[in-house]
Symmetry: C2
Subunit: 349 residues, 2 copies
Amino acid sequence: MPPRSPTSHDVARLASVSRTTVSYVLNNSDSGIAISEATRQRVLDAARDLGYHPNAAARSLRRQRAGVVGLVTYDTSNRMGSNAFMWLVMDGVLSELGPTGVRLIVEAASDDRPDPCVSLVREGHVDGLIVTGARPENTELRVLHAEGTPIVLWGRLSGSDLPYVDIDNVAAARTAVEHLLDLGHTRVGCITNAPPLTDTAAADRLEGFRSALESRGLSFEESLVRSGHFDERSGLSAMTSLLERPDRPTAVFVASDEVALGALKAAKIAGVRVPDDLAIVGFDDLSIATFVEPALTTVRVPAGEIGSVAARVLLAAISTSTSLREPAQVLTTELIVRDSSGPPQRLSG
Amino acid sequence: MPPRSPTSHDVARLASVSRTTVSYVLNNSDSGIAISEATRQRVLDAARDLGYHPNAAARSLRRQRAGVVGLVTYDTSNRMGSNAFMWLVMDGVLSELGPTGVRLIVEAASDDRPDPCVSLVREGHVDGLIVTGARPENTELRVLHAEGTPIVLWGRLSGSDLPYVDIDNVAAARTAVEHLLDLGHTRVGCITNAPPLTDTAAADRLEGFRSALESRGLSFEESLVRSGHFDERSGLSAMTSLLERPDRPTAVFVASDEVALGALKAAKIAGVRVPDDLAIVGFDDLSIATFVEPALTTVRVPAGEIGSVAARVLLAAISTSTSLREPAQVLTTELIVRDSSGPPQRLSG
DNA sequence: TTGTACGCGTTATCAT
DNA sequence: ATGATAACGCGTACAA
């Protein structure tokens, strides 16, 4: 029923030239050969009239290049859907890819399926990968990279030399916690964004928390630490648990805005006022941080930029085709002080 | 450097059979032919040993099928990043696609680039499309569909017969507003999720608002309507503007949770208590709706299901290859009453 | 300046 | 039950 898409052959016939000429004209081949302006125009017109679009599969087969990159996430424990941040990153990737015409295949790894990175690359579906949520046990990534596949990680992968785009989680967390300490807090709790044992960023943020305390001569107390799981609900229960302690903290560093919103809710439920009775600092600066009450003090992470930088690095690696050891790209963060953090209320004295 | 991926030819050689046999074995060809179990196993072993993955481009060229579908959004005015809902839909799409092995190319239309739907389809990059944010002026969609390209819309496209997955926006909005009217409100405002003139869903929700009022004998007042733009900020300014009215509403229907959060903030800033002085009902039931204070009464929209149903319908259309006029899929919504809506405060008398 | 011919890796048809 | 062969559509070295 659909009258079969026109091929370069059809264009050639209509323009009364050979397929070679069509190809040269359409690809602007600068390879020494010259095409008369007249034929050039005839070819262009014919292509336009026929609505010709070169077939992607054929072109990719011939060129040995797909013109597609993959965005793969290994974050499957938590549903992707809950991760607002990921979306912003993808937005950045798309905005960088758009002008180049390179397409984006998005895939989520799953335990009951073959590793998408492997199949995407081995099948020649993509020319390179942007990978998030990679963990040390994803050894295939190293193999692919060693073979020359361009790969860029979002977030560091400890013990690998894969190129990555990231922020300095330790420093950012330290700055956030120092802000609390500067306000005069001495009992500061921490709710991670994820269990630190499974997530590099979570581990680093916890390390920043610890480091800030110790730089001020305060001791790190395990009992003031809880694990969040990327969502509000986990923040609610973690904060509730912290508030139940007799010597509860006067401030808490929550390593994710989404988790922090749950913490905020827990405080409301417990009748604990923020920031008077409890100071809260989040992490990410999602747009909602501005709009909750009180507005959330948080660490701004350039989500979109992470995506666009990752895409830029990847495209460069693909086009130079040299497995050029791109140095890590560490983007800057910024503490945004809003209303959820203030000095501790002096109850005694 | 990378030692060139093994081809079916390599597998054939290693297994001492022809490429034909390899193909039969690997594709489980049930086409009448039988392969001796011995050779079958030899082929399988060879493929495994070589780490053979069939080349996607070659397969697609030969099969005239890409094994890829596209997810295209025309929502470019507002950055995709702000649309948390879209992410949930994509999650649903991916979860449906995953087990089938069909890949997903994600793209956003842009004014300064050729329509992604056209190029994706014409280049044979995808076998079908899931499209969001389609507007009547995207006439190419109709052309593609008429030619037999499987297409599923998320959201209705007025004046077209394209298959779509949607909710009943009119009815859902009507239910939400009736909830406010049932509580005793008589002056009810409305903040749309987007300018209704450009967005079918926004227009429908506004229509539901109007319809609810009129069914109770209340008049629709243009002056109590504001337009949101998908984000919190627009909700803040819209609500502020409504609150400045001398005869301000005692309740407001906000056709998007994100916009509603801005409205909530505006109320806080203005010193207007929710729900005592102002009842608010949102739309979407994003996870954050539970965690703001007060928790937001809203309309639950099955975001993930929208995605998975769209994918399912699309896959069916692709595999039956009949341009089978799939009837529209209308998913159900549900009003979730939380704390942001209550009866009006009787100030006078 | 243009046309001819081959190959990219697969799958499907047809003999054997 | 298996193997040779053509074709999918394009890009390019080479010949004219």
